[in-house]
Amino acid sequence: MAGTDPIHQFVIYDIFELFTVGGDGTEGSGTTFAFTNSALFMVLTVATIALFLLLTTSGKKLVPTRAQLTAELLYEFVAGMVRSSAGTAGMKFFPLVFSLFTFIFAANMFGMVPYFFTVTSHIIITFALSMLVFLTVIIYGFVKNGPKFLKLFVPAGVPGYILPIVTPIEVISFLSRPISLSVRLFGNILAGHITLKVFTGFAVMMIAGLGAFGWAAAILPMLMAIALTGLEFLVGAVQAYVFAVLTCMYLNDAIHPSH
């Protein structure tokens, strides 16, 4: 039935084509890069954050206005998170964590608006974000600590004869981080949006199929959908927070590699 397909909301389509790489110039050859609806909402997300921060901090009053206070609270929130998880040395990564947190948070909130596309419901986006964190940790860890960074894989106080077993396990545990980080965000958002669509789809189907009785029965799935909408706002905020906190903890490993 039209309009009740729960997966349809995640379809990516091209808005306009940008350029083509490779191919022989004929139609359909090479790899075409296009500006998609996903890209549009990423641009919107970044633009909204930038505008919000620029407008709210333009006054710079000593006694802040309400808008300025919101921006300052946001700053203090993320700064407190970085300081408590990664220490004062982690504050050099504050821009990274702040960008990640605001981007995911704003993208999730954008996704809650009807007819809007949810950027974080695609695993390639969340995986790219988590690989950014992962590579930052590895590169910064090696640049700052040199070979000592590998101590991360050798827990302190473990007898030598167990090390051949423990070290591969630690390596796998380390490699699983970007996967769990990306799958968690993507899974939560995807599952939440599908559930929401399924429940509202029930209401549409009942009304279409059962007539007057359907209108009465549709109240039940609609109540569920209302409750789920509230839950989804919570999940969107919590997942942005979890992503940022875990980023801080992984960065902490890069700054202080000993366990």
Binding site: I169, E170, I172, S176, R177, S180, V183, R184
Partner: protein
């Protein structure tokens, strides 16, 4: 629910990474199926390790209230054995 998701993904991701690495080693060295088998088990161990770390961290954030009944202490267990 966020906590449950966190623990679940930590575990599954480690198993997947272990299996993936094992499969790649098999492809590269032609040692099928030993790489997959051994690294799958190692991934399982890494998953358990991840879960233990996450839960320890959650416990540190919200410790049990004072005077809560947490079951018998380790010393009590020993006394029963002797």
């Amino acid at each position: 629910m966020a906590r449950g998701m966190r623990i679940g993904t930590e575990f599954i991701a480690a198993v997947l990474v272990g299996a993936g690495l094992g499969y790649l080693i098999d492809l590269g060295l032609g040692t099928s199926p030993w790489g997959l088998l051994i690294l799958l088990l190692m991934g399982f161990a890494a998953g358990i390790l991840n879960v233990i770390r996450v839960v320890a961290e959650m416990n540190a954030v919200s410790p049990a209230p004072k005077g809560a009944d947490l079951g018998p202490e380790a010393e009590d267990e020993e006394r029963i054995e002797n």
